[in-house]
Symmetry: C3
């Protein structure tokens, strides 16, 4: 391949051990020109859904041809399959445990293959570190030009998890969940444009969001618009509705975290009575 | 450009989310050969002055031609301007909120431009993540060879913050502040060579530094010279006077942190009386 | 050199300061094509043995020709020597304080040189940050093609620390130590295949490991084989015996951490009596 290949890493390995560095060594031995980019290694240990949301938030910003390694893998060494998902523009190398579910949601035409071509593995293959022995070397071979069809047969029974979509609990009412709390304490909810399109319009309707016995009814368009201490809703950079406080942590101020539930109601438009 | 471009990142984004990885994806889409280097993503949230000091400590060690992205941006989405500061050797892409103040201090000839050329932005531009939509793509275009003049008009009314210099409180006395506590617990003060040149000479005069009711009067030239548990002063690698303890945390031992104040007095030279 | 050089970094610098970024700036000024890989910057401050184990766990996974910078350096600025260790395939640039001891254990033919060629240093050389002023520039010059012999004379009296091997306390009994606790809470012990070869066979003998008044006698081959809450032993990816709990932290469940001691006994095979 003429162009410099890009390989990304999304894992729950943290940065306190040699794990991530070791993966990069394996990759550079196979694809010496690769640009290797860490997307995130702070996925909570074994939290497959969090890993799924993290890669889904970032992969579209990478150039076509990028190979993404996504490893949150509590079943390492068991019979769960290693897979490659391909969208044409992007490829994803991961365990078949649902960690690509949010990619599947975003990419209906994804093609998934079971990795069976052991010639691309680092031998001997351990039963405790498949990121090093299977995922990294397969991704590096793909990035270096190996044909994607060569890794193994296509499968259609890959594991797909429910990615925590909001549920309608009435005509204009939904129950939602906080997917994660970001570095700044913003609460990322599971409400996206496809769930409640009206809320993401340029002129959204009035609404009421109740979380932790607190009522939020302001939608802001930038963090700095809000008054100090005011909790407000905002469409965040991941495309989800967020609950935020200007220059402070909404998570701390509201006392809620990942997994917190809330209700959201759109108010019917006020009748305009011309007198 | 023939040479491999270098782009650095200094932010308050932390490493627990996908933010930094996403920036790198955007950069590699525009400048595929770039070497991207993290200077620091642990600037405390919204702490503009800390970001200013961090980039100022590091940029000079990068090769000429490097483009530095510096984003601590509580006003993202507001009217604060995006800017490029250029010293000839280095360029800095940042919000105009003072985060380049310590660079301005070090580079009197810096030229600053207001970024107005929206053709270099990632569209659509959000109001919550300008690092992704404005700063990263503009920096990548600059690194890839776009002429710096093309980003927008020169301005002279850019924001410049007071970078916490020490104040003289007597003929040989100063009040200083702890700018930050580093990984090892060393207290980085705001006393630099230009403030008290005598103190940074090969044979400095006697002095007394009082912090947290403790008196420090030893200047050491390496950490390992000091006795265990001894708090001492040392000229650190950032060029500032530091307060340190050999193989222990001065911050913990003295019970002080960022923002702590102290007084420093140079003792008049002892009179030598020949009898 | 035709091939893209690889330089790795293993330090106790953390990621909260500009230190690591600054090193990379220095390297790219000398070796602009280098791929720079972080192995780990979370070595506990001044913990030379931990640094030694970290680099030893990772370096073999890097391509031949890689230059590894290893800096845990409480004696920076003192008379301790800067050195380069070379195995032919890998080179290691480090202070001579024992931080390469586990590499020496693994590579009996290592050749060590005292770095004396100041022309490769970044001038002026500070007495507080030799990683920036000596180790990074020397490593970059080596990676860029400088002959290893040019850095200084060979030495044989380099510092070598005891790397915490287990001690036999009886015919089939050993006293061991927990070397570190990894991100997942697995306890990495100091028992390796060369210490007790029988335990690392495909069909290992029965054993009893006693730690924190708890008895462990199951060896698993993958984490996910174990029942929830069960503490078990496993041969981990670093080649050491580990104590683990499936999808939970063995460190927290057993209430032990780095430095904890344990005893390990191989049980004599049961006599099979045919009646």
């Amino acid at each position: 391949v003429a162009k410099r290949p890009v390989i990304t890493l999304t894992t729950d390995f943290g940065l306190h051990d040699h794990f991530v560095g070791t993966l990069k060594g394996v990759i550079l031995g196979i694809a010496p020109d690769a640009a290797i980019v860490d997307i995130c290694h702070a996925v909570p240990s074994f939290d497959i859904l969090d890993g799924a949301l993290t890669i889904a938030a970032a992969y579209k910003y990478f150039p076509n041809g990028t190979v993404h390694i996504v490893v949150v893998d509590p079943g390492v060494g068991s019979l769960r399959r290693p897979i490659v998902g391909s969208t044409g523009a992007h490829r994803f190398v991961a365990p078949d445990n649902g960690v690509l579910s949010a990619v599947y949601d975003a990419e209906p035409a994804v093609q998934v293959r079971h990795i069976t071509a052991e010639s691309y593995f680092l031998q001997p293959v351990s039963r405790t570190f498949h990121a090093r022995d299977i995922f990294a070397p397969v991704a590096a071979h793909l990035a270096a030009g190996v044909d994607g069809d060569a890794v193994g047969p296509e499968i259609t029974d890959f594991v797909r998890l429910d990615t925590a979509r909001p549920t309608a609990s009435g005509e204009n009412t939904w129950r939602g969940t906080v997917l994660k709390v970001d570095r700044f304490g913003n609460l990322i909810t599971n409400i996206a444009a496809q769930n409640i399109p009206r809320l993401f319009q340029a002129s959204p309707p009035a609404f009421k969001l109740v979380i932790a016995n607190r009522e939020i009814d302001h939608l802001r368009f930038s963090y700095s618009e809000a008054a100090p201490g005011e909790a407000f809703a905002i469409v965040g950079s991941m495309g989800y509705l967020e609950i935020a406080v200007n220059q402070a942590s909404a998570g701390e101020i509201l006392g809620v975290g990942k997994g917190a539930e809330f209700t959201l109601s759109l108010k019917p438009p006020r009748k305009i009575i011309r007198l």
